[in-house]
Symmetry: C2
Subunit: 220 residues, 2 copies
């Protein structure tokens, strides 16, 4: 197949300097927090569609688009997911997690109660394709799906919605409950909705390391 190129004309030009536009974006993004106290306030299917469309605009290996998104709204299905997740999490907190891991989680105050999986209006389950639907090869699917998930979270936040990047481990039960084929692996379970009015978040997860510890210019 011969490569075909088209002019890149439809460019996004912010109506501010790059510094100001990038800061404005940061000022919105820094208000995003992972939420575990969701209200049942509804979110439209259309909103979910824009959020997932944004995810699918992510760059990805050889344009194979190695992802699938299942948006769950049905109460019976959410209940099934909650019960199966809690079963895994009970094992996790009681046996699977190391002492060190539990100590690292203690400041977050998490436990095996995952009631929010039934309260949030939507659960978006992100699947990573390990082979294409036609059996073909995919490339850099971990990186591609990670970036797409980042786009998805940013889109939900810009729509005014809260999310949680939830990884009940292992996540194989999601393939079973949702009837997904063998080439799809559950990557992330993302409740989407509004926080409760009195929602709190762990103080521990707030602080980020100072920029000069994580961003290095040229060679040190």
């Amino acid at each position: 197949m011969e490569p075909q190129f088209v002019p890149y004309t439809d460019r996004y030009v912010p109506d501010a300097s790059p510094e100001a536009a990038a800061q404005t974006f940061y000022d919105v993004m820094r208000r995003r927090r992972s939420v575990r106290e969701f209200s049942d306030r509804p979110v439209s299917r259309e909103t979910i569609e824009w959020v997932v469309r944004t995810a699918t605009s992510a760059p990805n290996g050889a344009n194979k688009q190695p992802w699938r998104f299942v948006a769950v709204q049905d109460p019976a299905l959410k209940r099934e997911i909650r019960l199966a997740a809690e079963e895994e999490e009970r094992e996790f907190y009681a046996r699977r997690a190391s002492e060190r891991w539990l100590a690292d989680l203690a400041p977050l105050g998490t436990d095996e109660d995952k009631g929010y999986l039934e309260v949030a209006p939507w659960l978006i389950v992100v699947f990573r394709l390990v082979r294409a639907d036609d059996g073909g090869q995919v490339y850099y699917s971990d990186e591609s799906v990670g970036i797409a998930t980042g786009f998805l979270l940013a889109a939900a936040h810009h729509g005014g919605l809260a999310t949680l990047t939830h990884t009940p481990s292992p996540m194989k039960f999601l393939s079973q409950v949702l009837g997904r084929p063998d080439n799809e692996r559950a990557y992330m379970l993302i409740p989407v909705g509004y926080p409760t009015d009195d929602c709190t978040v762990p103080a521990h997860a707030l602080p980020r390391r100072p920029l000069d510890e994580v961003l290095i210019f040229d060679r040190p």
Copy 2:
């Protein structure tokens, strides 16, 4: 350590409906394209800082922040990176890539010439921590760094900047050239800057699969 919670008050509320706000975000994001023809038009260090700050706001396992970003602007260093990347890529195109992989790449028109690595004003190298700097455990570092990279690309795009998610393979040379320690693994090499005025992009990478093939509602 006892969990401490703070009210989640500093919420982002868009000044439009969730549908409209999510669509507006998509309408900006869908104009993002991976670019391989960069101009040498400068980009300020401040802009790079806002972009990386946004990346570090990503949700991540147990708030370990398992990432490091190296922003390269020095021409000599960019040249070293280009030469080392091209050495790997020559091997890739001549020997390492399977016939099938080369066929999948053909429509993109890529080859071992990575001149853009010297032309773009900045190269941001994303490293993933496999252990914390103090030797401690990190969790879900692949997912965390993938999401952070998604935030980084979205921030650059909102600042009016073009990027390329480049994965010269293998990327070990980046640790060597940049003198990075053993707990950091190169995850992505991202040139950042402006496209040339006559920049073209592969037509093949444009089309996304129809939404109903990648987004499924409830159980099929």
